[in-house]
Amino acid sequence: MTTVGIIGAGGISGVHIAGWLRLGVDVVVHSLVGAPELVARYGGEVAASLDELLARCDVVDICTPTYTHRSLVEAAAAAGRDIVCEKPFALTVEDTEAMIATCEAAGVGLFPAHVVRFFPEHAVVHDAVERGTLGTVAVQRYDRQGGMPVSPWFLDEELSGGIITDLMIHDIDFARWNAGPVDSVRAVRSAPDPSGTVAAQVVLTHASGCVSSIGGVWSARPVAFRTRFEVAGTGGVVRYDSATNPSTWVNGISSADGDGYAPRPAIGESPYQTEMREFLTAFQGGPPPRVTAADGLEAVRLAEAARRSLALGEAVTLPTEQPAEPEEAR
């Protein structure tokens, strides 16, 4: 029986633990705060310390704030555990490369939880790109809007990297997955505002010539979470807007007190469960998952370049991306 040790009990831990438990693995959780509440709600057991967690598990799932990832990856690798690490891997390329080198040296697996690749409406688009349905991809547009994160560390640029590194890295990674390596990055961000609302735009020029425009908003006003995209190629164009294609639409029935009709928010399997299954399968000797440590590193490299573009007010050119080495049998 596999045991997964989740470190951290914040927002992302809930969907991760639910995904793991549905896969039938045992789960232990260690967190500075919130671990008892998390296991009370979903299941699993609390580990009293990081050492206890590392001793009890086969796979470590790091769900802590970004700035803590490197030291926890190093601790897990030293304990010989395979590792799932929440995105972004780290704030810098330097930290990410060190994390990857540590895991390679320790002979443990390491995957970044870029869950957007597992969201079904995104996955079908990537499949269409892979099959050639869209032909040569020429223009991609992604937009991701939501309320400001609740935990204060997200809003501290030094700790989270800000909206580009924390939020928009989802679409940066997905754009690169569809259109390949990136040659240059330009980013702009709204001026600091007393309300806290922040909007940013990242433009990627891929080595293929494809151009990608990625928007992100953290709104101080309460807003519904919304993602939308359009991908256009020589074979056609596809578009999606989470605001306009619910499979169930409810109006006028209150479910706040639990006795109304409340459709489940997700269609089919949770993308987090799909993601954890692919990672677990790979750890157990199966095929590599759809997102690898090399992808996680490139995502950090692009986010770092975008932040440099912000700081410089200039487009930033990236070194030519080297083809990923084939996954070694583990």
């Binding site: 020429a138 223009v139 240059s184 702009v188 609302t197 735009q201 919304r226 256009a232």
Partner: protein, 339 residues
């Protein structure tokens, strides 16, 4: 009122001709001498005028000698300057198809020529007349939108197929970036009250139409003097087989929330068995009609029309900077304009 239509080169001329022809009190006369230089099979000249039911003369000299009160210029982009200058010299009010020009130097010369002649110059940006955009501007001015943080616009369409000149750099000045950046630049200009753009970044390709001599897809990022950023997807990314030519959207992020407008959203959709394609029944006001009515009203009353030549210069400056940015692979400053 006597209105002259110079050239059928831009296909918007056909719509203008039909609308002007149906307006009471408008005498319409057209000329399209350059139609002889267009590729075989493209409509134009006296034959097209007859089809549209519009009176026709063979030369621009005859057209302007007729003494029009107003001239609508619908020639190829790089010919706008000569035609606007000729119309101004003839003492006519001018409505010029967008983009006003393909260089700031040309645009400024056109504004100067119209000012010297004492005639108004308006640029044909119809989208700012859409009810959705007009409402956005009104509510913004009333304070309901709050502080604007960011603007994102899309203006996607099919590669213009009815006229070859759209993809001829000598006549069009460029491709999608020339054709589709300016509509959104105009909306931003109207919303932000003419705040000038200070920096531009652009990236583009012709992957969708590798044989085209111009870019067919692009992303342009504009930074205005007040700090607002506008990102425009100006791509001709709508497949040629699509039933709808394209569209335009504008998204606004402000401290009061998120606003998206889609001026072309008013449509009933379905499927056509006849064309084996989507069927879209658009409704709501014809934006070209609102544009023409606004221009003609300005000519009648002598009030300055909007968007005027200065808007044309500012939007041209953004496109000129976009090409410089794309060519040089860097963020560029927008040149100061003299008008």
């Amino acid at each position: 009122m006597k209105v002259a239509l110079m050239s059928f080169a831009h296909t918007h001329a056909l719509g203008y001709a039909r609308l002007l022809g149906a307006m009471p009190g408008i005498e319409l006369l057209a000329s399209d001498p350059d139609s002889a230089t267009r590729p075989a099979g493209e409509s134009g000249g006296a034959a097209l005028a007859a089809e549209l039911g519009v009176a026709y003369v063979d030369t621009y000299d005859e057209l302007l000698a007729w003494g029009p009160d107003a001239v609508v210029v619908c020639s190829e982009n790089t010919r706008h300057r000569a035609h606007v200058e000729a119309a101004a010299a003839a003492g006519a009010a001018v409505l010029c198809e967008k983009p006003l020009a393909t260089s700031v130097a040309d645009a400024e010369a056109m504004v100067a020529a119209c000012e010297a002649a004492g005639v108004p110059l308006m640029v044909a940006f119809p989208v700012r007349f859409s009810p959705a955009f007009a409402d956005l501007v009104e509510q913004y001015r009333a304070g309901a939108v709050g502080t604007v943080h960011a603007l994102t616009g899309t203006n996607n369409g099919q590669v213009p197929a009815a006229r070859a000149w759209f993809t001829d750099p000598d006549l069009a000045g460029g491709g999608a970036m020339t054709d589709h950046t300016v509509h959104l630049a105009d909306l931003a200009d109207a919303l932000l009250g003419g705040v000038p753009a200070v920096r531009v970044h652009a990236t583009a390709n012709n992957l969708l139409h590798p044989d085209a001599a111009v870019e067919t897809a692009g992303i342009v990022t504009v930074t205005y003097a007040d700090g607002t950023h506008l990102t425009i997807d100006c791509s001709w990314s709508r497949p040629a087989s699509h039933s709808i030519w394209g569209g335009l959207t504008l998204s606004v992020v402000s401290d009061t929330g998120l606003i998206d407008i889609d001026p072309f959203a008013p449509r009933v959709t379905g499927w056509s068995e006849q064309t084996a394609n989507e069927l879209a029944l658009g409704y709501g006001p014809n934006l070209d009609q609102l544009l023409l009515e606004s221009f003609l009203e300005a000519v009648r009353t002598g009030t300055p029309p909007q968007p005027d030549g200065h808007v044309g210069v500012r939007t041209t400056a953004i496109v000129e900077a976009a090409y410089r940015s794309w060519r040089e692979g860097r963020v560029v400053e927008v040149g100061r304009t003299s008008v």
